[in-house]
Symmetry: C2
Subunit: 272 residues, 2 copies
């Protein structure tokens, strides 16, 4: 399992700090998670093959999480894509994209499928023989989902192995939970219990916890508390507010509660 | 008069080649012309003050000319803008922008005025004591306008000067014509006659003139022919297709017909 951070800045991009976008490589999949403005440029910078992206997951309809989607969809067309593309995101995303394609009189030459989300209960939204993806309902100013990516048992192997082997194999199945943007919310704990990797909203430091509460974001300390209660194996903090020039305090603040933590940064690759 | 090219690549952006966007400084105005994805990042790179932009002109609704607009509008809000913003562009632009603001539940805290264009005849769309802006109807795959920016006589001075002085003063009034995207189209010649600076679509070389015709773009040679017929003072070529690594041929091809020509490039500043 390999996570590549393309951007982890909240609100607005700058030359060296891109808004939210990540690529998760799991089994034979390359999942794109969120798609802030300029994501297509970041994909090129990090030499990620556009054609390998078949599923795009959008957490919510704030611009720093999806303004790059229409540009990516257009570029897929210009690159001559023919394979299907699946987009999972809040209700309304289909209208935004198709309105722009219609007014540009430029339809895609590949099939574009929208899976619009409205539920406030976790649901499986993608599944094949090797992986499943389910939603993690989050508490933000507008309708928002995190996403839980899980490796699955290989059914053919299962038929041949013992109970003890099964236990070992289960432990080795990788899991990744993406939780941004969200207020501190203990309801997600059962959904992300013991994941190998948790990416969590840490827009603010504890100093600005009132601002976090008002804008329905989290502090580094709150992210660490969630990681601790959920007994995750590793925590990555992201979605930093641009007000903080030095990010070291995010690390020290969260390490008081949870040690296995690191900071997201543009271009960082985490392999589990 | 000062023109800053923020991007001049057609179709898709890459790290070092941005899609169309320009800033024109004329009298006390800073006009933004087109707004490809990542324009807000380019504005920062070139240290252009966001608050000085009050008028944005969008030529047409192909993504490489306006996908950065919604992000810029959102960033204006986040920066605490309170002054009015005027957007001039094809019918439909208001629906695209307001749909996204509505679904993000994030209205602007400044007044946003849309001036939607539908006419196929040139019209004045902005005017004050010092400058006027009018449309230049272009021939492209979808409804498209170029824009003509003109300095005006200062009325107070006019009342005091002689006929001879008036002639001298008229010659010194600066004019800029932005013509992208467009097929070769002699109908624009009366509108852009003798302008100080013409930016013209030169997506292709003569080698690909059939492709230019089919996609309703121009070649460097065609741009030069328009410049010559219109007797403009200076020509800037832009909107280059990414297929050409070396741009020198654009220059040599157009110099056969028109000598006062240069190539656009990201970051180039032209002062007249």
């Amino acid at each position: 399992m390999k996570l590549s951070i393309l951007g982890c800045r909240s609100a607005t991009p700058s030359e060296n700090h891109h808004t939210t976008s990540q690529v998760l490589e799991l089994k034979n999949h390359l999942f794109l998670i969120d798609c802030g403005e300029g994501t297509q440029i970041q994909l090129r910078n990090h030499k990620i093959k556009f054609s390998r992206i078949k599923h795009i997951f959008i957490s919510h309809l704030h611009g720093d999480h999806f303004y790059g989607l229409i540009g990516l969809i257009s570029t897929f067309r210009l690159l001559g894509r023919t394979s299907d593309l699946y987009i999972y995101g809040p209700k309304g995303i289909k209208e935004i994209i198709t309105l722009q394609l219609k007014l540009a009189n430029s339809w895609t030459n590949y099939s574009l499928f929208f899976h619009e989300l409205e539920s406030n209960i976790s649901q499986v939204i993608f599944e094949d023989d090797e992986v499943s993806v389910s939603t993690i309902p989050l508490d933000h100013r507008i309708y928002t989902n995190g996403f839980l990516f899980k490796e699955k048992h290989n059914q053919k192997r299962l038929n041949r192995i013992t109970t003890n082997d099964l236990k070992i194999e289960s432990d080795s199945l990788k899991t990744y939970a993406f939780c941004s943007d969200t207020a501190y919310n203990e309801n997600i704990i059962p959904l992300i219990k013991s994941v190998d990797l948790l990416y969590h909203d840490a827009t603010f430091l504890d100093l600005h916890k009132n601002l976090a509460k008002r804008t329905k974001h989290s502090t580094a300390k709150q992210a660490a508390k969630i990681a601790k209660l959920a007994e995750v194996k590793k925590l990555v903090l992201g979605h930093f507010s641009s007000r903080y020039k030095d990010k070291k305090q995010f690390l020290s603040e969260s390490k008081l509660l949870f040690h296995e933590v690191e900071l997201a940064s543009d271009g960082k690759v985490i392999e589990i």
